[in-house]
């Protein structure tokens, strides 16, 4: 174990280690080269691995993903960086129509082992075009996998799994927690992975379950602590980690235990990831439910900019706390 690592350290490390392990792994994207990425998520990789293996692209999101696909078909394992989740739409066809469907289209004869790293979701002071969380779009596309780690440990382990997976994986980096010091943790020195498709119980509980992913998991933990301290309410926190496929077993197990569920994420509510999780529960665990399935999400508007608006708009711990009390008393 070395010094404690931030979330972004874990991302840099995972890439460097995978690139060392396998010469077919390389990174491409805007500003990833000399600059090391606008968030420094590829810091040092060009110096360490050369021009081609950490390649600056033009502002061409479609090409970034298309090129990754083509290289993957020829045996490589590219990591494509999308600078902000807000800009992923330019690659919508390459992601949904090419990457997701090549294996199917070729009758299982060709694989597309690419990772699409996306600086995703809200962070302070981002506004309409730097704070979007559009993962729900991709959850509706069979053929893709989607992960969204909430800790340095998972960030590293899931990124390694993503690189080694033979399918296109969208890796949602939580820019809100890239460098928060309170999240630092020591990481194993040995190679490890975190499996795609498996949730994690971030906190055990028995009265109700928070389901979330990414940075919002930390809201849940904060609120769970407060609920315990102030009301003796024991909240379980289920960190999905993977959005597609999501861990149905873990969800059912927790619902069976607590019978009350709050789903929370930073994307707007309507037709978000939470809708699918809720619908799954309403279909497969209905009998265990004691109360309405609650969603605490952002409002159905674009991401507003001004700091006080952000606060009003987000699924803050305060909103989560209120919803939890209401649900507990139901």
């Amino acid at each position: 174990m070395g010094a404690p690592k931030t979330y972004i350290d874990a991302i840099v490390e995972a890439q460097a280690e995978e690139m060392r392990r396998d010469a077919n792994v390389f990174v491409l994207g805007e500003d990833v080269g000399i600059y090391g990425g606008v968030f420094k998520a590829t810091k040092g990789l060009m110096d360490g691995f050369g021009f081609w293996r950490c390649l600056d692209t033009p502002i061409s999101e479609a090409l970034i993903v298309d090129a990754a696909i083509g290289a993957a078909l020829m045996g490589m394992r590219p990591i494509a960086e999308i600078q902000f989740g807000d800009f992923i739409g330019g690659a919508h066809d390459p992601i949904c129509q090419q990457a997701a469907k090549i294996h199917y289209r070729t009758g299982g004869t060709w694989k597309v082992p690419i990772v699409i790293r996306v600086a995703n979701g809200w962070a302070m002071g981002v506004g309409l075009y730097h704070g979007q969380a559009n993962e729900a779009w991709y959850m509706h596309v069979p053929g893709l996998k989607i992960v969204a780690p909430s800790t340095p440990y998972d960030a590293k382990g899931l990124l390694k799994s993503a690189v080694r997976d033979d399918n296109p994986v969208i890796y949602l980096e939580q820019k809100a927690i890239y460098r928060v010091p309170w999240l630092k943790e020591e990481l194993p020195e040995d190679d490890y992975t975190v499996p795609i498709g498996k949730a994690r119980i971030a906190r055990e509980g028995k009265h109700l379950t928070f389901i979330s992913y990414g940075w919002v998991v930390h809201n849940c933990l904060e609120v769970a602590k407060k609920l315990e301290e102030e009301h003796g309410i024991s909240a379980e926190v289920l960190d999905l980690r993977s959005i597609l496929p999501y861990d149905k077993e873990a969800i059912i197990t927790s619902v069976k235990k607590t019978s009350k569920v709050i789903i929370t994420h930073d994307a707007p509510k309507t037709a978000g990831v939470g809708a699918e999780i809720s619908a799954f529960i309403a279909e497969e665990a209905f009998e265990y439910l004691d109360a309405p399935i609650t969603r605490v999400c952002s409002f159905d508007t674009p991401v507003p900019f001004y700091s006080k608006m952000e606060k009003f708009w987000l699924p803050t711990p305060e909103k989560l706390y209120t919803a939890a009390l209401k649900l507990f008393e139901y």
């Binding site: 692209t57 298309d66 083509g70 070729t106």
Partner: protein, 355 residues
Amino acid sequence: MELSPKEKDVLRKPKELLEKPKLDEDHKPRASVDAKKRKEELKKIHYFLRLTREFDDRGRKLWRQGRMEGTFFSQIGQEATTVVPTFFTERGDFIGPQHRELGAIITRGCPLELLASQLLSRKTSQDKGKCHPNFWGWTEGNFLAPCTLMAAQTGVAVGAALSFKMRNMHFIALTFSGEGGTSKGQWHEAVNFAAIHKLPVVFIIQNNWWAESVPLRLQAGNEDISKRAIGYGIEGFRMDGNDVPLLYDFFSEWIPKIRANIGPPVIVQLDTYRWYGHSEIDPADYRAKEEVEMWKQRDPLPNFESYLVKEGIMTEAEIEAVREKALEEVQKAYEFALNAPEPEPKTCLEDVYAP
């Protein structure tokens, strides 16, 4: 609000008879191949052209007999623009087609049984009934099954080429789009990137003048789309896509050169024509009869066959023998497919994820 006579005119007058395009003087290919090899290769190309023609023709007929699901996209008239460049690809090369590249996959060496099986949605096809009949692919030959979205394979081909260059491999990526596909943003992003890194890509534009019902003049600001090469800082050519010896001379020089140097890319616009509708359900009545007739006169096959005879490369009898052989192979392939089993419905749930 009727169409003004001028509007009618612009839209409806038959495309002016096209002057046979020539290679720019500057770009005249130098004969770097020896004459004997050239003759042998032209013969082989003739065989692929003929095979493609007959395979397509029989496919159309099956569609008309209602023995096929979906619709059929004939490429008859465009054989040369796909067969000739593909003839110069090698095993490790990557091919990214659009949707009218039967000649490319045949020349690449894909077993006809596989193609016929896909046309008839049989279990014996590569996709096992999952895809549209003639959106053919052949993974073994690095030939990516079409994505159907226009120009979608262009960027993928560029990615393949990037991987060749990164690894210092002497392979090329050959990618096709119709003149219509070049209007997609993806085409632009792909060509620009290939140009920046001088990647080994051959961008073929099969210009058949129409994208479904939309004529070239409503598709591109400049009819000579290959001129875009200037803006990307690469070379571009436009030539008669039905003139087989011309294409031979061009590609026999350029593809080995690009392979040897691992780039830079080149845009090649090949003017040609699809004889029939966009697919069999399209009456193609947006085109003038005279235009279609004119292009049938410029059928790449008989013109090339006359050339072969005139140059003493093949005799009429040999040409006839090739035709019979091709017909026979095509017949056999369809026979195979017609007798092949259908896929089980529930297998549509397979192959979504790689294990």
